[in-house]
Each structure stands twice: as C-alpha cells, then as structure tokens.
Symmetry: C2
Subunit: 172 residues, 2 copies
C-alpha cells in the first residue's frame, strides 16, 4: 500500500522535502504570534463566509473562534513556537481529528484557495515564508485526503493474529 506521505506528494505535487522546508527556518520567531492569529482569523473569516455552501457547511457545527484557535495554536507549535496546541488538546493527530469531515480532493483545493488568499491578505508575511507555508499546507491538505480515504476501509476486518489464514497486521 502506498504510504500516506507518498499519496500526499503525488496528489499535491509537493515533494516531501519542500513540504517540510518549514523546518529549515523558525517561522514562529520570524513572524510572531500575532501574525499567526491574523492568518487564521483571515482564513476562517473567508471560510465561514464562503459562497460555496457545500464547503462552508463542513464547518457549520464548529464555532469560528474555536476553529481559529485550534488552527493558529497548531501552526505555532509546528512552526517553531511554544506547544500551545498540545498543552490544551494533546497530540495533533491530524488525520483522526479530521475524521468527522469529508476531506475530499475538492475540499482540499477549496481550503487551499482560501489559505492562499488569507496568506496574501495578511501583512508581515514575506514571500519566502509564504512559499514554505503554502507547500506545507498543500502537502498536508492532501495528506488528510489520503487519511480520509482510510475511512473507506472501514468494512475490512481488523488485523488478527495467531493463525496464518487471518488478516495480518501491516504498517503503512
């Protein structure tokens, strides 16, 4: 089975190394907390006002201010800042926490459309940081699409042990 990260690279068109070039520099130190808060606020303001009802409705059962906080705390933690997300919510567990939502290819593209606009509309984000972040976001969005497809394996039996004719446990 193709790994989650291989699918993410193939579908996003972003190589693994480029996706995680966010780690070659400390974006939190470069940009600061306020910029991350502004970015997530801009992003979700667009999302909650989206003219595309099918996309907007994905977020309808979450409060906008919670969505903003979850997002910027994760970004801060992942991009070199303090572990704000884990202090409050534990492991990011990105795929599992997106499990309730229909993370399709189309939804990933719509998410990325709004994020590109939000990045462009947030002051104090330099061009190099924008490229790094967009590569990370694009790869991650399709990583989550790959994760979403695991749900379609629901009907498969859980791996079993002890006898050779049962479904073996395989990592991926």
């Amino acid at each position: 089975m193709q790994s989650l990260q291989a699918k993410a690279s193939e579908w996003s068109g972003v190589k693994q190394d480029d996706a995680f070039a966010i780690d070659d520099t400390n974006l939190f130190q470069k940009l600061g907390l306020e910029t991350f808060i502004n970015l997530s606020t801009n992003f979700y303001t667009r999302v909650y006002d989206d003219e595309e009802e099918w996309f907007r409705s994905i977020f309808a059962n979450s409060k906008k201010e919670d969505a903003i906080q979850n997002q910027y705390e994760f970004f801060v933690q992942r991009m070199g800042g303090p572990p704000l997300y884990s202090q409050r919510r534990g492991h990011p567990a990105l795929i599992a926490r997106h499990r309730p939502f229909p993370v399709t290819h189309q939804a990933a593209e719509r998410w990325l459309h709004h994020m590109q606009q939000a990045l462009d509309g947030t002051t104090d984000i330099d061009a190099d940081s924008k490229v790094r972040m967009m590569n990370f976001f694009r790869h991650t969005a399709f990583f989550l699409v790959a994760g979403d497809e695991l749900k379609s394996q629901n009907q498969q039996p859980q791996c079993k042990h002890g006898t050779s004719n049962q479904t073996p446990c395989k990592n991926f």
Copy 2:
C-alpha cells in the same frame, strides 16, 4: 462526545499537564540522540522477544529495525530535537498510523510495561526525565486506545450537509 485527550487522561490516570511536561525542558538536548536510539532498541528488543505471543504478534509484520527508527525519530522530534520523523515520513498522525493495529487497553499496558523496563535499562536517563517520559508515554498510549475505538464507529454514516435531517459534522 468525550474528547480523545479527556479519555486519555481518564484511562491513563495522567493529567494533560503532566503528560506534556516533556515540553517544560528540552529532553533531546539533555539526553542526546544516542540515548533515544538506545531506548528504542532496548524497548523493541523486549517487544520482539515478548513471551506473550498475542502482544509480540502485533509487530510481526514490521521489521524490528524499522520499528526502532520510527520510534526514536518520533521521540527525538517530539522532545525538542530535529524533525527527523517528518523529514522522512511527514506528519506523525499517531492515531491513523496505528490504525492497522489492535490498540486495546491490555496492549497499552503491555507496551508501557516494556517501556518502563527499557527506560530503567537505558543508561544516562535521569530520574526526572524518566518520570516526564513515562507520563507522556502513558497518556499517549491511552490516547491511542481512544483513537482505536473510533474504528468501531465505522458503520456510522459520514456526516452530511445541506439538509437538517442528515448527520451533522461534529468536531471532537
């Protein structure tokens, strides 16, 4: 629905703050790469030799050296070191990557038994670091048990949008 992290705290007996006290200090700088490699080597040497066949067999389809590398790279990344895991495999996505395995309460306790022994058998890990790491491991093990139980929700319909009588999308 009770959150993954709330279940983890309840079942592990470790409070969220204690689990993530690994972030109050830089354990990678304190212990060094070699210690993490030794810890994971000690751990999986025990696991692959476990007299309990039901537990040992969970790992039977993974190569021991791969299991060791996946584990110490994640620990190093999560405990203040370079992002070795993400450079090679992308997001940890802990719950999704454990999806093929039967992460039961009993398996969590067995995992923790071996990890406690491995910690005690690895030189150069001071008592304070051991406590922090064990709290983190214990909370994380039961976080994964909570994640494993999401699989039993397989037969539920995916959330839908657009009309009020369909299953709504809820975050957790």
